[in-house]
Subunit: 279 residues, 2 copies
Amino acid sequence: MTGRIGLDRLSLNQATVKHLGLAEAVTLCARHDIPAIGLWRDRVAETGLATAAAAVRTAGLRVSSLCRGGFFTSGGAAGWRGALADNRSALAEAAELGTDTLVLVCGGLPPGRRDLGLARRMVADAIGELVPEAQRLGVRLGIEALHPMFCADRCVISSLGEAVDLALRFPADAVGVVVDTYHVWWDARLAGEIARARGRIVGFQVCDWVLPLPADTVLGRGHLGDGVIDFGPVTAAVSAAGYDGFVEVEIFNAGVWDAPPDRTAATVRERFATVFGGA
Amino acid sequence: MTGRIGLDRLSLNQATVKHLGLAEAVTLCARHDIPAIGLWRDRVAETGLATAAAAVRTAGLRVSSLCRGGFFTSGGAAGWRGALADNRSALAEAAELGTDTLVLVCGGLPPGRRDLGLARRMVADAIGELVPEAQRLGVRLGIEALHPMFCADRCVISSLGEAVDLALRFPADAVGVVVDTYHVWWDARLAGEIARARGRIVGFQVCDWVLPLPADTVLGRGHLGDGVIDFGPVTAAVSAAGYDGFVEVEIFNAGVWDAPPDRTAATVRERFATVFGGA
């Protein structure tokens, strides 16, 4: 591994403790000396934007990202303008919450369509439309490549290389990529694509790939070390590409969600220290 | 679509009618005027190699491929030599059955390991060892990229580009790639990778990606037209790259397996004619 990553760069993505409201997740981080949190819009909305922003500030927490914008294709052509409006709201929320990264899950095939090229054009066009607002607010759109098994129904951006190709079409202060180990670990060209993303990596999310996949493949993620991902090479590549921001632990897993949140937070910290050598 | 593909190029992969023995699958093809079959080693072994070879010859069927060799990593370093021996047997079986293509499912991570680079070197080294035997027998090793969701446990070759990179390290009369729509349809760089595979495409397998994925993700395949794959562009690319061999319909789906085989064969023919315009 190229260098260690200390616990001062740990962020707990709120999805890892899905059953907690925002205030509870914030106090959990404070209690476990986790310096940053990745927030989710539904929990922010439930709390109220101003209240949520005040809660993280009061706790002295940094907000590593807001999840999530995107879904540009899900409503088809008719819903595209509405998706833009929703993403403009998300950008404003990110700014208010004090994070400079809005994570994008770009959307799958439009309903009833098989045209991947069309879907990808809808995504690119939407990002282009959002650039001025992103620049004005100082929030970057983080294109996240999702695992190819989600291509049809969640995100047509299926590899980091594709995400980088897309990001490079737009200004670096407005559009970047989010590297999530769960989605990209399998890629034989990963190191090269991460290097190509230099200056564009706006988020680094980690969790493990656990076998067997559960019936709901969205939930097949695990604590660092519980699966097959070799975090060393990908982390070294991300660091070598100049990324020095927070590392978000984001785990979608029904068992983790049902565990006591304090145990989850403790495990997240402990595994992070072990895997990234930053005790 | 670039050109139509006639029913004279249809092959039924035996896995589509998984519950049939070899003799039954052969007579099913003959009954439905399907000119070729993709055979599986377990069914060949059950029948006996000589008997199986005689059955397809007598029926006037062509054998488009033998499935499957590979699994070079599954036994770890200790099992690697044994895997080579098994693959030499598979090459000999392919020759005896009258097909020039052995489909490779290369294997996932070695047991207890997280090192994708090691796994990929084990695959490459194994293929290199098998080249002389493949050339002697006139059977090509067809590297099949499996969907990235199978990277950990079935095949560390996860994209067509990676398969092409690997194949190009060896002589064209010994090593090629198999394009399977189910595994590669999501890839934004697919057309370019298929073009790069010119002269190396030794098999083209088709089935559809059906949502939602079933609990066992191996079985999430469907008849052409039942899912989201746009077969036009990939077929055009494969044809433009010079491939003019059989097109195998290979469907892993518990519902299809439980259907009456004659209905399955009729559906396969009908969908093939519709999708490939070759009525």
